[in-house]
Protein backbone atom coordinates (compact mmCIF):
# COMPACT_ATOMS: atom_id res chain seq x y z
CA UNK A 1 0.00 0.00 0.00
CA UNK A 2 1.55 3.29 -1.09
CA UNK A 3 0.16 6.61 0.06
CA UNK A 4 1.64 9.81 -1.32
CA UNK A 5 1.52 13.03 0.66
CA UNK A 6 1.65 15.79 -1.91
CA UNK A 7 1.10 19.48 -2.38
CA UNK A 8 1.07 21.74 -5.39
CA UNK A 9 3.32 24.25 -3.68
CA UNK A 10 5.98 23.96 -1.02
CA UNK A 11 5.58 24.97 2.59
CA UNK A 12 2.00 23.82 3.04
CA UNK A 13 2.98 21.42 5.79
CA UNK A 14 3.32 18.32 3.61
CA UNK A 15 6.35 17.05 5.52
CA UNK A 16 4.65 17.79 8.86
CA UNK A 17 1.71 15.62 7.84
CA UNK A 18 3.94 12.86 6.44
CA UNK A 19 6.13 12.65 9.53
CA UNK A 20 3.23 12.76 11.99
CA UNK A 21 1.23 10.24 10.04
CA UNK A 22 4.18 7.86 9.85
CA UNK A 23 4.86 8.07 13.56
CA UNK A 24 1.19 7.67 14.52
CA UNK A 25 0.59 4.71 12.22
CA UNK A 26 3.78 2.97 13.31
CA UNK A 27 2.08 2.07 16.61
CA UNK A 28 -0.21 -0.32 14.72
CA UNK A 29 1.49 -0.97 11.35
CA UNK A 30 4.88 -1.71 9.85
CA UNK A 31 5.48 1.71 8.22
CA UNK A 32 8.03 2.94 5.70
CA UNK A 33 8.39 6.68 5.27
CA UNK A 34 9.97 7.49 1.90
CA UNK A 35 11.26 11.04 1.40
CA UNK A 36 10.96 11.59 -2.35
CA UNK A 37 11.37 15.35 -2.08
CA UNK A 38 15.00 14.76 -2.97
CA UNK A 39 15.86 18.38 -3.78
CA UNK A 40 14.81 19.44 -0.28
CA UNK A 41 14.63 16.28 1.84
CA UNK A 42 13.46 17.17 5.34
CA UNK A 43 11.91 14.08 6.93
CA UNK A 44 15.24 12.93 8.39
CA UNK A 45 15.49 16.13 10.42
CA UNK A 46 12.75 14.78 12.68
CA UNK A 47 14.44 11.47 13.49
CA UNK A 48 17.79 10.65 15.00
CA UNK A 49 19.97 7.66 14.25
CA UNK A 50 22.81 6.66 11.98
CA UNK A 51 21.50 5.72 8.56
CA UNK A 52 23.07 3.36 6.05
CA UNK A 53 24.04 5.12 2.89
CA UNK A 54 23.65 4.05 -0.71
CA UNK A 55 25.23 6.09 -3.49
CA UNK A 56 22.96 6.69 -6.49
CA UNK A 57 24.70 6.97 -9.81
CA UNK A 58 23.83 7.44 -13.43
CA UNK A 59 26.04 6.40 -16.34
CA UNK A 60 28.09 9.09 -18.07
CA UNK A 61 30.57 8.64 -20.91
CA UNK A 62 34.22 7.83 -20.40
CA UNK A 63 36.50 8.31 -23.37
CA UNK A 64 39.45 6.10 -24.26
CA UNK A 65 41.79 8.79 -25.57
CA UNK A 66 43.93 6.24 -27.45
CA UNK A 67 40.95 5.04 -29.46
CA UNK A 68 39.35 8.47 -29.94
CA UNK A 69 40.05 10.11 -33.30
CA UNK A 70 38.40 13.44 -32.36
CA UNK A 71 35.99 12.92 -35.26
CA UNK A 72 33.27 14.93 -33.51
CA UNK A 73 30.41 12.46 -34.05
CA UNK A 74 29.53 12.23 -30.33
CA UNK A 75 29.64 15.99 -29.93
CA UNK A 76 27.21 16.58 -32.76
CA UNK A 77 24.90 13.81 -31.60
CA UNK A 78 24.57 14.86 -27.96
CA UNK A 79 21.49 17.07 -27.62
CA UNK A 80 22.43 18.05 -24.10
CA UNK A 81 25.86 19.54 -24.79
CA UNK A 82 27.55 17.06 -22.45
CA UNK A 83 30.39 16.27 -24.90
CA UNK A 84 32.31 18.95 -26.76
CA UNK A 85 34.93 17.90 -29.29
CA UNK A 86 37.83 20.34 -29.65
CA UNK A 87 40.88 20.01 -31.90
CA UNK A 88 43.01 18.26 -29.29
CA UNK A 89 40.59 16.75 -26.77
CA UNK A 90 37.00 15.99 -25.85
CA UNK A 91 35.57 18.15 -23.08
CA UNK A 92 32.94 16.60 -20.85
CA UNK A 93 30.12 18.12 -18.85
CA UNK A 94 28.80 15.21 -16.76
CA UNK A 95 26.29 17.53 -15.05
CA UNK A 96 24.56 18.10 -18.41
CA UNK A 97 24.49 14.41 -19.34
CA UNK A 98 21.07 12.70 -19.34
CA UNK A 99 22.68 9.25 -19.56
CA UNK A 100 20.96 8.35 -22.83
CA UNK A 101 23.97 6.34 -24.01
CA UNK A 102 23.80 7.86 -27.49
CA UNK A 103 27.48 8.81 -27.60
CA UNK A 104 28.52 5.23 -26.89
CA UNK A 105 26.28 4.01 -29.74
CA UNK A 106 27.37 6.57 -32.35
CA UNK A 107 31.14 6.49 -31.68
CA UNK A 108 32.67 4.90 -34.82
CA UNK A 109 35.83 3.70 -33.04
CA UNK A 110 34.26 2.28 -29.88
CA UNK A 111 36.19 4.79 -27.77
CA UNK A 112 33.28 5.54 -25.44
CA UNK A 113 32.11 3.46 -22.51
CA UNK A 114 29.87 4.47 -19.64
CA UNK A 115 31.08 5.01 -16.07
CA UNK A 116 28.94 5.76 -13.00
CA UNK A 117 28.65 9.39 -11.85
CA UNK A 118 27.15 10.33 -8.47
CA UNK A 119 23.62 11.74 -8.70
CA UNK A 120 22.74 11.56 -5.03
CA UNK A 121 22.43 9.30 -2.01
CA UNK A 122 19.72 7.25 -0.38
CA UNK A 123 19.79 7.05 3.41
CA UNK A 124 18.16 4.07 5.06
CA UNK A 125 17.42 4.08 8.77
CA UNK A 126 15.08 2.55 11.31
CA UNK A 127 14.11 5.25 13.83
CA UNK A 128 11.70 2.81 15.51
CA UNK A 129 11.32 -0.99 15.25
CA UNK A 130 8.15 -0.53 13.21
CA UNK A 131 9.25 2.56 11.27
CA UNK A 132 11.78 2.68 8.43
CA UNK A 133 12.93 5.89 6.81
CA UNK A 134 14.18 5.87 3.23
CA UNK A 135 15.41 9.31 2.29
CA UNK A 136 16.77 10.46 -1.06
CA UNK A 137 19.10 13.42 -1.43
CA UNK A 138 20.03 14.93 -4.78
CA UNK A 139 23.67 15.84 -5.21
CA UNK A 140 24.02 19.62 -5.32
CA UNK A 141 24.28 20.75 -8.94
CA UNK A 142 22.92 17.50 -10.36
CA UNK A 143 19.83 17.49 -12.58
CA UNK A 144 18.99 13.83 -12.03
CA UNK A 145 16.09 14.29 -9.64
CA UNK A 146 14.07 11.40 -11.03
CA UNK A 147 17.08 9.04 -10.90
CA UNK A 148 17.29 9.57 -7.14
CA UNK A 149 13.52 9.15 -6.70
CA UNK A 150 13.67 5.88 -8.66
CA UNK A 151 16.47 4.73 -6.33
CA UNK A 152 14.31 5.52 -3.28
CA UNK A 153 11.39 3.67 -4.86
CA UNK A 154 13.51 0.53 -5.35
CA UNK A 155 13.68 0.16 -1.54
CA UNK A 156 9.92 0.19 -1.07
CA UNK A 157 8.20 -3.09 -0.35
CA UNK A 158 4.68 -3.56 -1.63
CA UNK A 159 3.55 -5.45 1.47
CA UNK A 160 4.48 -2.61 3.84
CA UNK A 161 2.49 0.51 4.46
CA UNK A 162 4.51 3.13 2.61
CA UNK A 163 4.08 6.89 3.02
CA UNK A 164 5.79 8.96 0.34
CA UNK A 165 6.66 12.60 0.96
CA UNK A 166 6.29 13.83 -2.64
CA UNK A 167 8.17 16.73 -4.23
CA UNK A 168 6.04 19.88 -4.54
CA UNK A 169 4.52 20.84 -7.86
CA UNK A 170 3.36 18.83 -10.84
CA UNK A 171 6.75 18.33 -12.51
CA UNK A 172 8.27 15.07 -13.70
CA UNK A 173 9.65 14.52 -10.17
CA UNK A 174 6.16 14.69 -8.67
CA UNK A 175 4.86 12.40 -11.42
CA UNK A 176 7.65 9.87 -10.78
CA UNK A 177 6.64 9.74 -7.11
CA UNK A 178 2.89 9.58 -7.66
CA UNK A 179 2.60 7.20 -10.57
CA UNK A 180 2.46 3.88 -8.69
CA UNK A 181 0.67 5.14 -5.59
CA UNK A 182 -2.66 3.77 -4.38
CA UNK A 183 -3.78 6.96 -2.71
CA UNK A 184 -2.80 10.60 -2.51
CA UNK A 185 -3.31 12.88 0.46
CA UNK A 186 -3.14 16.47 -0.77
CA UNK A 187 -2.02 19.06 1.77
CA UNK A 188 -3.04 22.64 1.11
CA UNK A 189 -3.78 25.89 2.89
CA UNK A 190 -6.77 28.24 2.69
CA UNK A 191 -5.18 30.96 0.55
CA UNK A 192 -5.52 31.81 -3.14
CA UNK A 193 -2.09 30.17 -3.63
CA UNK A 194 -3.18 27.05 -1.80
CA UNK A 195 -6.28 26.70 -3.96
CA UNK A 196 -4.41 27.31 -7.21
CA UNK A 197 -1.78 24.72 -6.36
CA UNK A 198 -4.33 22.21 -5.09
CA UNK A 199 -5.98 22.28 -8.52
CA UNK A 200 -2.59 21.55 -10.15
CA UNK A 201 -1.80 18.52 -8.03
CA UNK A 202 -5.39 17.32 -8.30
CA UNK A 203 -4.96 17.33 -12.09
CA UNK A 204 -1.92 15.06 -11.75
CA UNK A 205 -3.77 12.56 -9.56
CA UNK A 206 -6.55 12.49 -12.14
CA UNK A 207 -4.05 11.63 -14.90
CA UNK A 208 -3.03 8.56 -12.87
CA UNK A 209 -6.54 7.92 -11.62
CA UNK A 210 -5.48 7.89 -7.96
CA UNK A 211 -8.11 8.39 -5.24
CA UNK A 212 -7.45 11.48 -3.15
CA UNK A 213 -8.36 13.36 0.01
CA UNK A 214 -7.37 16.73 1.43
CA UNK A 215 -5.75 18.09 4.57
CA UNK A 216 -6.14 21.84 5.08
CA UNK A 217 -3.32 23.38 7.05
CA UNK A 218 -3.43 26.75 8.82
CA UNK A 219 -7.18 26.55 8.52
CA UNK A 220 -9.03 29.10 10.61
CA UNK A 221 -12.21 28.85 8.55
CA UNK A 222 -11.92 32.34 7.10
CA UNK A 223 -11.50 31.43 3.48
CA UNK A 224 -13.96 28.99 2.05
CA UNK A 225 -12.63 28.77 -1.51
CA UNK A 226 -10.62 25.62 -0.81
CA UNK A 227 -13.62 24.01 0.89
CA UNK A 228 -15.85 24.96 -2.03
CA UNK A 229 -13.40 23.39 -4.48
CA UNK A 230 -13.30 20.20 -2.39
CA UNK A 231 -17.08 20.01 -2.23
CA UNK A 232 -17.44 20.68 -5.96
CA UNK A 233 -14.97 17.91 -6.80
CA UNK A 234 -16.08 15.43 -4.19
CA UNK A 235 -12.79 15.56 -2.31
CA UNK A 236 -13.13 14.52 1.34
CA UNK A 237 -11.43 16.96 3.75
CA UNK A 238 -9.98 14.60 6.36
CA UNK A 239 -8.22 17.04 8.65
CA UNK A 240 -7.84 20.72 9.47
CA UNK A 241 -4.76 21.95 11.28
CA UNK A 242 -5.24 25.39 12.85
CA UNK A 243 -2.45 27.95 12.76
CA UNK A 244 -0.81 27.61 16.12
CA UNK A 245 2.48 29.05 17.31
CA UNK A 246 3.12 25.98 19.48
CA UNK A 247 2.88 23.68 16.46
CA UNK A 248 5.08 26.02 14.39
CA UNK A 249 7.67 26.19 17.17
CA UNK A 250 7.76 22.42 17.60
CA UNK A 251 8.09 21.86 13.87
CA UNK A 252 10.79 24.52 13.68
CA UNK A 253 12.87 22.81 16.34
CA UNK A 254 12.58 19.36 14.76
CA UNK A 255 9.99 17.89 17.12
CA UNK A 256 6.97 15.86 16.06
CA UNK A 257 3.70 16.96 17.60
CA UNK A 258 2.06 13.54 17.54
CA UNK A 259 5.04 12.18 19.45
CA UNK A 260 4.46 14.74 22.22
CA UNK A 261 0.73 15.25 22.39
CA UNK A 262 -1.67 12.28 22.72
CA UNK A 263 -4.57 14.29 21.28
CA UNK A 264 -2.68 14.94 18.06
CA UNK A 265 -1.40 11.36 17.98
CA UNK A 266 -5.02 10.18 18.08
CA UNK A 267 -5.98 12.63 15.32
CA UNK A 268 -3.18 11.42 13.04
CA UNK A 269 -3.99 7.75 13.73
CA UNK A 270 -7.56 8.50 12.70
CA UNK A 271 -6.35 10.33 9.57
CA UNK A 272 -4.24 7.33 8.62
CA UNK A 273 -7.08 4.87 9.13
CA UNK A 274 -9.40 7.07 7.05
CA UNK A 275 -6.87 7.06 4.19
CA UNK A 276 -6.57 3.29 4.38
CA UNK A 277 -10.35 2.93 4.43
CA UNK A 278 -10.62 5.11 1.32
CA UNK A 279 -8.17 2.89 -0.55
CA UNK A 280 -10.26 -0.13 0.33
CA UNK A 281 -7.50 -1.63 2.50
CA UNK A 282 -7.43 -1.73 6.26
Amino acid sequence: MQIAIASGKGGTGKTTVAVNLALALSTSHEVTLADCDVEEPNCHLFFSGHPDEEIVTNPVPEIDTDACTLCGTCGSFCRYGALIVLTDRVLQYPQLCHSCGGCEIVCPTGAISMRPEKAGVVHISKPKPSLSLISGTLEEGSIHTTTVIKAVRRHLLRENLVLLDAPPGSSCAAMETLKDCDFCLMVTEPTPFGLHDLTLIHEVTEIFNIPTAVVINRSDEKNNDVDMYCTAHNLPVLMRIPFDRTIALMQGSGEIISGQDPVWRERFVRLGLQCLALTGAR
Binding site: G75, C78, G81, I84, V85, T87, L96
Partner: protein, 114 residues
Amino acid sequence: MQIAIPASGQTINDPVDTRFGRAPYVIIVNQESGATTTLSNPYAAESGGVGPRLVQLLVQNQVTQLIAPRIGGNAENALVAAGIEVFLFEGSGSVSSALEQFKAGKLVLMIGKQ
Protein backbone atom coordinates in the same frame (compact mmCIF):
# COMPACT_ATOMS: atom_id res chain seq x y z
CA MET B 1 42.99 35.03 -37.35
CA GLN B 2 39.23 34.62 -37.14
CA ILE B 3 37.22 36.56 -34.57
CA ALA B 4 33.61 35.77 -33.64
CA ILE B 5 30.86 38.05 -32.29
CA PRO B 6 27.38 36.88 -31.15
CA ALA B 7 24.77 38.98 -32.97
CA SER B 8 21.05 39.61 -32.87
CA GLY B 9 20.89 39.87 -36.68
CA GLN B 10 22.75 38.66 -39.75
CA THR B 11 24.90 41.68 -40.59
CA ILE B 12 27.69 43.60 -38.89
CA ASN B 13 25.29 46.53 -38.49
CA ASP B 14 23.06 44.46 -36.20
CA PRO B 15 23.55 44.69 -32.44
CA VAL B 16 25.89 42.47 -30.47
CA ASP B 17 23.71 39.93 -28.67
CA THR B 18 23.90 40.00 -24.89
CA ARG B 19 23.96 36.22 -24.64
CA PHE B 20 26.65 34.01 -26.02
CA GLY B 21 25.14 30.53 -26.25
CA ARG B 22 21.67 31.68 -27.25
CA ALA B 23 22.48 34.46 -29.69
CA PRO B 24 20.56 33.78 -32.91
CA TYR B 25 23.64 34.45 -35.08
CA VAL B 26 27.38 34.45 -34.81
CA ILE B 27 29.35 36.68 -37.16
CA ILE B 28 32.89 35.56 -37.93
CA VAL B 29 35.36 38.08 -39.29
CA ASN B 30 38.64 37.17 -40.93
CA GLN B 31 41.01 39.80 -39.60
CA GLU B 32 43.46 39.60 -42.50
CA SER B 33 40.97 39.85 -45.37
CA GLY B 34 38.11 41.53 -43.51
CA ALA B 35 35.71 38.96 -44.97
CA THR B 36 32.66 38.18 -42.81
CA THR B 37 30.68 34.97 -42.51
CA THR B 38 27.35 34.71 -40.70
CA LEU B 39 26.53 31.45 -38.96
CA SER B 40 23.03 30.94 -37.71
CA ASN B 41 23.29 29.44 -34.24
CA PRO B 42 21.69 25.98 -34.37
CA TYR B 43 21.57 25.80 -30.56
CA ALA B 44 19.85 29.15 -29.88
CA ALA B 45 16.57 27.55 -28.88
CA GLU B 46 17.85 24.28 -27.43
CA SER B 47 17.39 23.32 -23.85
CA GLY B 48 20.81 22.88 -22.37
CA GLY B 49 24.53 22.92 -22.86
CA VAL B 50 24.20 25.49 -25.62
CA GLY B 51 27.29 27.49 -24.65
CA PRO B 52 29.76 24.61 -24.94
CA ARG B 53 28.14 23.39 -28.14
CA LEU B 54 28.55 26.81 -29.71
CA VAL B 55 32.22 26.78 -28.68
CA GLN B 56 32.55 23.49 -30.54
CA LEU B 57 31.07 25.15 -33.63
CA LEU B 58 33.54 28.04 -33.30
CA VAL B 59 36.43 25.57 -33.10
CA GLN B 60 35.20 23.85 -36.25
CA ASN B 61 35.23 27.26 -37.95
CA GLN B 62 38.84 27.99 -36.89
CA VAL B 63 37.84 30.83 -34.58
CA THR B 64 40.61 31.92 -32.19
CA GLN B 65 39.12 35.06 -30.67
CA LEU B 66 35.68 36.06 -29.40
CA ILE B 67 34.02 39.32 -28.42
CA ALA B 68 31.12 38.79 -26.00
CA PRO B 69 29.26 40.52 -23.17
CA ARG B 70 28.50 37.60 -20.91
CA ILE B 71 29.78 34.05 -20.77
CA GLY B 72 28.28 31.19 -18.75
CA GLY B 73 30.48 28.94 -16.63
CA ASN B 74 30.20 25.92 -18.93
CA ALA B 75 31.04 27.92 -22.03
CA GLU B 76 33.94 29.53 -20.20
CA ASN B 77 35.51 26.15 -19.49
CA ALA B 78 35.13 25.18 -23.13
CA LEU B 79 36.63 28.47 -24.35
CA VAL B 80 39.62 28.08 -22.03
CA ALA B 81 40.12 24.48 -23.17
CA ALA B 82 39.80 25.47 -26.81
CA GLY B 83 42.36 28.26 -26.34
CA ILE B 84 39.96 30.92 -27.62
CA GLU B 85 40.66 34.43 -26.31
CA VAL B 86 37.59 36.30 -25.08
CA PHE B 87 37.28 40.08 -25.02
CA LEU B 88 34.63 41.66 -22.85
CA PHE B 89 32.14 43.95 -24.58
CA GLU B 90 29.92 45.48 -21.93
CA GLY B 91 28.11 48.29 -23.72
CA SER B 92 25.47 48.00 -26.35
CA GLY B 93 26.15 48.62 -29.98
CA SER B 94 26.54 47.06 -33.39
CA VAL B 95 28.91 44.28 -34.28
CA SER B 96 30.97 46.72 -36.37
CA SER B 97 31.32 49.18 -33.49
CA ALA B 98 32.43 46.35 -31.19
CA LEU B 99 35.02 45.37 -33.80
CA GLU B 100 36.31 48.94 -34.02
CA GLN B 101 36.70 49.11 -30.25
CA PHE B 102 38.52 45.78 -30.36
CA LYS B 103 40.91 47.01 -33.06
CA ALA B 104 41.54 50.18 -31.06
CA GLY B 105 42.59 47.99 -28.13
CA LYS B 106 39.73 49.24 -25.94
CA LEU B 107 38.28 45.83 -25.00
CA VAL B 108 39.54 44.02 -21.94
CA LEU B 109 40.82 40.47 -22.31
CA MET B 110 38.56 38.30 -20.13
CA ILE B 111 39.79 34.81 -21.01
CA GLY B 112 43.22 33.99 -22.43
CA LYS B 113 46.87 34.90 -21.86
CA GLN B 114 47.73 38.55 -21.35
